[in-house]
Symmetry: C2
């Protein structure tokens, strides 16, 4: 039933990592559970280049995104959107009656820091959201430059959706000044789906204290206070299976070396981009290309559904375009634990199916 | 690191079930994922004796409880509480600015249908919550009799927290008239924690349509509509690992036979109760005893911490009292896939440690 997944998450998980999902369960209120979380926290602080608190959530990344914008918007949120996943932040705000405005860029373009500066200079906002890696368009937004703008203002809580980038692209949380950096384990981190991660700054914690009606399960303040008081534990029973696997996989990631891992993602991206340019076009502004997935403009008018069906019969799977771009583009992800060789084999199979060798 | 857990969840998971957690990941938007969910839905409908829609949530049970009271209270919720987990419903309502009143009974006592009748006859409420199995006191509340009361009123959405009972105690959802019956997989269903389940009636769906600001991740209407339109799929990426294991475990449960499974839980409960009466006292009103855990009054003033430490060195773990009952009681769970023999071995070890044979 399983295929080698080159969709933008979930992706194929290494066998040894998968095996850790079968670890026998321990009590979630015991010392072993605290120790497990502490180990995970330490390693994730390395991965995110941060001293901020690390929280896990038994949910998809969307849950923590919703929790962030709801828990930490006191005045009004400015949602910067470069596609479907940016728009989702706005949908979350609206569904929770959180005051928010959305600022969109053309699909395939990036959110540039000048735009953010202009919006923040109005003084109307106290939280911003940026999608690091827009999975619908393949844009990597310049979160570092945006961070420089945010630093000019005192009271902005800076939220970054790094769901499809963390673990594959370097994110220096403290240097950039990100208050809440959110990711999900089934993308570049290379685990099965079912757990989300965020980093949480003191500024974000203090902001939440001023916000009423933050809900409970995704109330970042509730989670944080419980976590601090109860020695690295959570208000609700977490997915211990994911924690065992995450602990193990983070060891693997740190052993590979973060720079090596990011370099490997860059190399895989370059390979796919070159192939795409040879046969199609890159959909995305080339100044802001993601290293974890490539969105390709379907200039040959191929049937992506047919291609994917044939690929699947060979044991591979890629993704069609997302949302409004469904017909116009297709997407190949190159994240997690794939090697250059895996990408070459995939591309060779696509060449073969599309007759690029004939 | 792992012990045989007799805490009220998570519990020890069978090796063959654990192994299913390591199944290689599939795309969550493909036909195989739809089929997997459809299989799970069919089997859970059997387990809950219902034709209602089954939804899974990648979260603990608390997430779906919060989602229910928030999504489906239009006028005001009546929260009936027999302990900490009943109180939690009220905390959830308050955290979401959902109008609610809480009606409490003495710890160790049950919520009787007369009380519910009196409250509903005021006409002030359009949703009620009842904890089937109050894990802090060992009470099994009479959800069937309460259901008879609810049936007299047209517009009450009846929510039941069956987190620590479903899979171990019979719950005939349609016959009782439960609109939303919620459970979590790490209790009597016998899986690792990380996924929650609910049944959802048309009445609950229609109610949610009248409620503004239901949030997103736990918005039952959003989940339901996506599920129906997108052929058994979810708005966010679910924990596929839990779905593989749940699908397998439900086959096991149905093969054991539901009545056999419920009988086994009853037999394990009787054993623990008899032992408890011999050496201590049962904390709970004996007319409403749970079959999945027993709460024991610490009449001998033993140090439960010491007992548990010694038990743990022998590879077992029980639970101290919950919340305000921490010192006064201790708890032994008997749920999931344990057999009578497992319970006998546990009790023998406790006897041995406490010197009951001397």
């Amino acid at each position: 039933m399983s295929k080698k997944l080159f969709i933008p998450g979930p992706i194929e998980v290494r066998e040894d990592v998968l095996q850790k999902m079968s670890t026998q369960i321990i009590g979630h209120r015991g010392k072993d559970a605290s120790q497990l979380q502490q180990n995970i926290s330490n390693k994730l602080q390395e991965l995110f280049y941060t001293k901020n608190t690390i929280l896990l959530s038994t949910s998809s990344g969307s849950g923590l995104m919703e929790g962030s914008i709801r828990s930490c918007t006191s005045q009004k949120a400015a949602v910067f959107s470069s596609g479907s996943f940016g728009d989702r932040w706005y949908k979350m705000a609206a569904a929770n009656n959180v005051p928010a405005d959305v600022f969109k860029v053309e699909l395939g373009k990036a959110i540039e820091s000048e735009m953010v500066e202009k919006v923040l200079s109005t003084g109307n906002y106290d939280l911003i959201t940026v999608t690091h890696n827009e999975t619908s368009t393949g844009i990597r937004n310049p979160i570092e430059e945006i961070g420089e703008v945010v630093k000019k203002y005192n009271d902005i809580v800076y939220c970054v959706d790094a769901v499809s980038s963390a673990g594959g692209i370097k994110i220096e949380v403290d240097k950039i000044g990100i208050d809440i950096c959110i990711t999900s384990v089934q993308k570049a981190i290379g685990l099965p789906p079912g757990m989300a991660i965020c980093t949480l700054s003191d500024k974000a914690v203090n902001r939440a204290k001023k916000v009423p009606f933050r809900g409970l399960y995704f109330d970042l303040l509730e989670m944080y206070e419980y976590f601090i008081q109860k020695n690295f534990q959570y208000p609700s029973t977490p997915s211990l299976s994911h924690m065992f696997a995450l602990d193990y996989q983070l060891d693997r990631i740190l052993k590979e070396g973060l720079d090596n891992r990011f370099k490997r993602h860059e190399d895989m991206a370059r390979l796919v981009r070159n192939w795409a340019k040879q046969h199609f076009q890159i959909f995305t502004d080339e100044n802001y290309l993601s290293n974890t997935l490539t969105v390709i403009k379907n200039t040959q008018g191929i049937s992506v559904a047919n291609l994917n069906e044939k690929l699947q019969s060979r044991g591979f799977e890629i993704a069609n375009g997302y949302g409004n771009l469904k017909e116009e583009t297709f997407r190949i992800s190159h994240m997690g634990d794939y090697e250059i060789e895996d990408i070459k084999i995939l591309l060779k199979n696509i060449d073969d199916i599309l007759g690029f060798y004939k």
